[in-house]
């Protein structure tokens, strides 16, 4: 019973996640325009809830903004013009994906700068590391000792060798 309750609470929580907030009467008659409208809703931010798109947000302002998108589509505006219309009023903030412009230069280039700087630092450290000197060749005594050790090891690995263990 307890497990069932936990499972159902979990399922409800998943089901209650963001979903489409469109009302049936918001559908556009023309399927091509409807498809463009849905794409635009998904990339525009609801200015009240801030981390929902117009598609996800149930707020009144999001519904009004969707209505504006539909009006402009019906008026024959292009997607870029519709985006610009809302950016003029709400700023770049209304776009969920920030545009690349002087104000967002740091935002877009910071990962690249960090990558190049870190890569450069690592490359520089590796290049600067002194080459490892060639080891001195083994003396005859050392060579004999190594051979003896290897010989003993081979003896250990034979199936019935018993070994030192």
């Amino acid at each position: 019973m307890r497990r069932f309750l936990i499972l159902s609470a979990w399922l409800i929580a998943i089901g209650a996640g963001p979903g489409m907030a469109l009302e049936p009467e918001e559908r556009m008659a023309d399927p091509a325009l409807e498809a463009r409208a849905l794409d635009l809703y998904a990339e525009l931010r609801c200015v009240v809830c801030q981390n929902n798109s117009l598609l996800d947000s149930p707020s009144q302002i999001a519904a009004d903004m969707r209505a504006v998108v539909r009006d402009r589509l019906l008026a024959g505006d292009g997607d870029a013009e519709i985006r610009a219309y809302l950016v003029d009023r709400y700023g770049d903030f209304v776009l969920l994906e920030p545009p690349f412009n002087p104000g967002t230069l740091a935002l877009w280039l910071a990962p690249l700068v960090v990558l190049v700087a870190a890569g450069g630092l690592i490359a520089w450290r590796i290049a600067r590391r002194p080459a490892r000197p060639e080891p001195d060749p083994l003396t005859p005594e050392e060579r004999a000792a190594v051979e003896a050790l290897l010989e003993r090891r081979r003896g250990d690995e034979t199936p019935d060798g018993g070994g030192a263990r």
């Binding site: 009240v48 009004d64 809302l86």
Partner: protein, 177 residues
């Protein structure tokens, strides 16, 4: 010199913490967004008036002197809180305040103004909320300061409480006059 290289990541992280902590400690509201309209001409607006109250509100009503534009609705509780402040600004400071009656039934708006007083010069009725979007509002109430050339100079989202009026709106109005 070597110790500095080893300390560098820690120092960079500490700098990041300080940079992130400053707005938190200062109590900045991340939902308080700057208006995109600042220093732009006021958005083109042509709204009908409330029935029986006279003409509506158009962009042509702006300019000539410093004015306020207030977005309000009868269903908006914070609007009630700021209403005495706006009334005082109009009566005592001689400020012209135009209003956009946002997503409201005209009759409800008239009844609300009848109960609480009407400090507004022109009121435009915006039952569909389109003018609200043209003004880039994120909620009600919002108040804009418009200069004599008809440009938006300041936007305040939320109720204009006495300290907001005294510290942020009146000094700007004085400077622009």
């Amino acid at each position: 010199m070597r110790w500095f290289l080893y300390a560098l990541p820690g120092l960079a992280f500490a700098a990041l913490i300080v940079w992130v902590a400053i707005p938190l400690v200062r109590g900045d509201d991340p939902s308080d967004l700057p208006s995109a309209l600042i220093d732009q001409a006021a958005p083109a607006t042509d709204l009908p008036g409330l029935p029986g109250r006279g003409p509506g509100f158009t962009t042509a009503d702006l300019g000539g002197e410093v004015m306020l534009v207030n977005v309000f609705a009868s269903w908006c509780v914070p609007c009630l809180a700021e209403h005495p402040v706006l009334t005082r600004l109009a009566a005592e400071e001689g400020l012209t305040i135009h209003a956009i009656n946002y997503r409201d039934a005209p009759d409800d708006a008239l009844a609300w103004l009848g109960r609480h007083g009407d400090p507004f010069a022109r009121i435009g009725s915006d039952p569909e909320g389109r003018a609200g979007i043209d003004w880039g509002i994120t909620g009600v109430p919002e108040t804009f300061v418009i200069d004599a050339a008809g440009r938006v100079r300041f936007r305040f989202a939320g109720p204009v409480m006495p300290e907001i009026a005294a510290e942020r709106i009146l000094p700007l109005v004085e400077a622009l006059r």
